[in-house]
Structures are given as structure tokens and as C-alpha cells.
Symmetry: none
Subunit: 259 residues, 2 copies
């Protein structure tokens, strides 16, 4: 771990803590807001809640690991304590949450089951391959090895992008108005935020290292995770709410509230 | 505890942490998804949630125990810290969760109460005997003692297998289509994953030890637990959802949500 100024250490420290709060709180929102949409869209919100709760757990662990990996040195800077900083929590998190994010998206596309199931199977397998192929590169110190695994991981990555573009285009076109524009927003949030991951993976290969590189990596991954999980979940909620309204809304009195 | 390389230690460490997240998150899914199925199947999902929450608690403890049992030695490898690694958390977990897994399965078989109750009583008693008879063998260092308790524990184990095959066959046959094939899947997941436990129990008897043996045992138990609890719970949820759909689905506004 590179030596950090107090400002650098505390920026990451506070951002990680803010993320714990954001993830758990947005999970409560998604969980509770199932009651505000039609039955058909409730599983999507439940999966959104799972995604951010899993991320909240991992950010809690990353926060503890970051805090433990540093100690204050003699000159007031933060220096490595000797305890390892476990960045693998991020991979463990992605391995579970990335397939679930694709489940959320397919759920609000409201495809026929005969179309949704095979699409979801392909996307989930591609997502697991994408994360699993990235991991050996992440833990390697060799630039060539890193690059080979990065390239291998990019194959399922690009497959997911291609599948989403080809499958979502017709669904967006078939839903003019608010539902269609929100579906396009969900696709774009996913596509823009996900680009951040392979780019930051390559940062050490491209020679970006040292304290600024480490801080940029932690800040970047964290902002990308907040956007791709909590922000994406909000868009999924908006789609579910817009679809519910377009289908006639909830009938007052007919929907007892959950606790 | 055998000396481990950093890669071996961290593989188990990260897998245990991932399991904590998986168990708690799947528990929230099972708990919340009661609202998405007919009343009759909600208790099965609530029991599924209990099983994985109990497992999440125990994996949290196992993670802490694993972390505490090791320290970094002079050559960078992980060596025993002197604190004991409490594998008995696994037995405590199984003693509670294995009977509950059988409750889940019988609940979605949708037998008449006069048939379900005696079946469940027999299965639960057999499950408790199976775990309790395994424990004295697990904590013994004597190969003969281990083997005798293993053999004793296999009697209720095989009784459960026989009971499930004889009782589930007619139910599967009576439910052609998606419900029947999902019931067969649930039975097969249970039967295949459970084989892992008596086999790994025998590993030390058969001379598999050392660092590779310990890592294989921890990884194997953990993957078996994820599959037999969270994965099994997902199949139970799919059976409940398929039965709800086959019975006419949820009527918008007519199904109050649980918490």
C-alpha cells in the first residue's frame, strides 16, 4: 500500500463510510417500495434491495480493511500497517451482484417468459465469466498476465453490451413515452458506469500507480458502484412505478400496506 | 491448523465472507418474496429465510474464527496463532438447519395434513439423530472411533434418502409440467449436495490432510452449504411461484403483503 497524506487517506475512508450508509438505506427503500407497484414488478425491487444490501456488507468490510491496512507514520502521513488490504471483497461483491443487476433489468423489460428466461440465462453466464476471468489478472503483478485476463474478460463484457442493445432496442421502441425513456435511461446508466471497471482495471498496466493512483482507483470504483447499484435501482423503481401507473395504478383501499 | 500460503488462506477467507453476504441477502429475498406467492406457500419461504439467516450467522462466526486462528509467520505464510478454529459452528448450524430444510421441502410437496405431519416427524427425528451421531466422530482423533460414529450416522442419513424417494415419487408423478420438474430438481439438489457431507467427514480417515486437505474441506463444505441452503431455497421459491401461477396467480389488490 502506498504512503498517503491524511487528506488522501480520509477521503477514501469517508467515501467508503458514506457508501455503507447509501447502500443499506437504498435497500430499505427498494424493499419497502414493493408495496407501491403492481405485483408483477415487485420481484425486480426485491432483487434491487438484495444487490445494495450485499454491496453495503462488502463496503462495511472494505472500510474495516482500509482502516486496518494503514497506520499513522512518524511524519504524520498514513503508512502501511502490514495488514493486507483485501480488494478481493470487490470481486466477491461483483460475482453476486452483477448477475442480479441483469435480473433486475430483464424483470422490468416485461418480456414473455419464453423470451426472458433464455436471455437471462445467457446474460448471467456471461456476467459470471466476465468477473471470474478478471480476477486472475487483478491479483497478478505481471503486466502481460494482467492484459491477457483483461482481454479474456472483455469478451463476455462486450457480449452483454451487444445482447442488451439488440434486445432492449425493440422493447424501448414498443414503449413510447415515460416507460420507454426510462428503459433507455436504465440501459445507458448500465452501459456508461460499467465502462469504468475495465478502464480502471487497466490503470496499473498503463503505469498509473502510487498514492494518487490508489486513491483514484478507490474513489472511482466506489462512485461507479453507487451509480451502478443504488442509482440503477432507482431507475428500475421508476420504471416499475411508471408501468404500474400506465396499467391503471394501485386501487386505494385494495392494497393494504406492508409493515 | 496446517501452515497455509497467502493464496490458500485468502481463498477460504474470501469464500467465507462471500457466504455471509449470500446467506443474509438470500434470506431477505425469501422473506420478502412471501408477498409474491399464494398464502399456502408462504410458510415454506419463511422457513427458507430462517435457514439461510442461521447459516449467515454461523458463517460470520466461522469467518471470525478462521481469521483469528491464523497469523502471518516470519516467511510470509499463514501459521497457527494458537487460538482454536471452531469447526463445531458447522454442527450447531446443521443441527438447526437440516430439520428446517426438510420442513421447506415437505411444505411445497402440498400433501394432505394427515400425510405431511407423520412424514415430517420421522424426517426431523432422523435428521437430528444424523447430526448428533456424527459429532462424536468429528471431534475424535481416533480413526476407528470416527468410522464407527460415521457408520451410525449413515443409518438415519440413508433412511431420509429412502423416505424422500418413496414419498416424492408419487407427488412428482402427480404434478406433470413445471411444478413436477421443479420438485424433482429440489429432491435432486438435496440428494446430490448432501452426499458431500459424509464424504468429507471421511477425508481425514482416508488420510487426506495437510494444507491442501484443510482448504479443500473448507471450500467444499462452504459450496455445499450455499447450494444446499440458498440454492435449495431458490428452487423452493420457484416451486411456490409455479404452484401459485398454476392455481390462477395473484389477483391485483386481493393479496395483502406481509412485512
Amino acid at each position: 500500500m502506498p504512503e498517503l497524506t491524511p487528506g488522501q487517506f480520509q477521503l477514501v475512508y469517508n467515501l467508503l463510510s458514506l457508501t455503507v450508509a447509501t447502500m443499506f438505506a437504498s435497500g430499505l427503500f427498494f424493499f419497502g417500495s414493493r408495496a407501491h407497484v403492481a405485483h408483477r414488478y415487485r420481484p425486480a425491487l426485491l432483487v434491487s434491495a438484495m444487490v445494495v444490501w450485499i454491496a453495503g456488507y462488502h463496503y462495511f468490510r472494505i472500510f474495516q480493511s482500509w482502516d486496518g491496512a494503514y497506520t499513522v507514520g512518524e511524519e504524520g502521513n498514513y503508512v502501511a500497517s502490514g495488514k493486507f488490504f483485501n480488494d478481493a471483497y470487490r470481486y466477491a461483491d461483483w460475482l453476486i451482484t452483477v448477475p442480479l443487476l441483469l435480473v433486475e433489468l430483464v424483470a422490468v423489460m416485461a418480456l414473455a417468459k419464453s423470451e426472458a428466461r433464455p436471455l437471462l440465462n445467457k446474460l448471467v453466464i456471461a456476467a459470471i465469466l466476465m468477473i471470474a476471468l478478471g480476477y486472475p489478472g487483478e491479483i497478478s503483478d505481471n503486466t502481460t498476465t494482467k492484459f491477457i485476463w483483461w482481454a479474456a474478460s472483455m469478451v463476455p463484457f462486450l457480449y452483454i453490451y451487444a445482447a442488451l442493445f439488440s434486445k432492449m432496442g425493440p422493447v424501448i421502441a414498443a414503449n413510447p413515452g415515460r416507460v420507454g425513456s426510462l428503459l433507455a435511461l436504465a440501459r445507458n446508466v448500465l452501459i456508461v458506469t460499467w465502462i469504468f471497471y475495465p478502464v480502471s482495471f487497466l490503470a496499473p498496466v498503463l503505469g498509473l500507480g502510487g498514492s494518487a493512483g490508489e486513491v483514484a482507483l478507490q474513489v472511482g470504483y466506489t462512485i461507479a458502484d453507487i451509480t451502478a447499484k443504488a442509482g440503477f435501482g432507482v431507475v428500475i423503481y421508476m420504471i416499475a412505478a411508471a408501468r404500474t401507473e400506465a396499467e391503471g395504478g394501485l386501487v386505494e383501499g385494495a392494497h393494504p400496506q406492508p409493515a
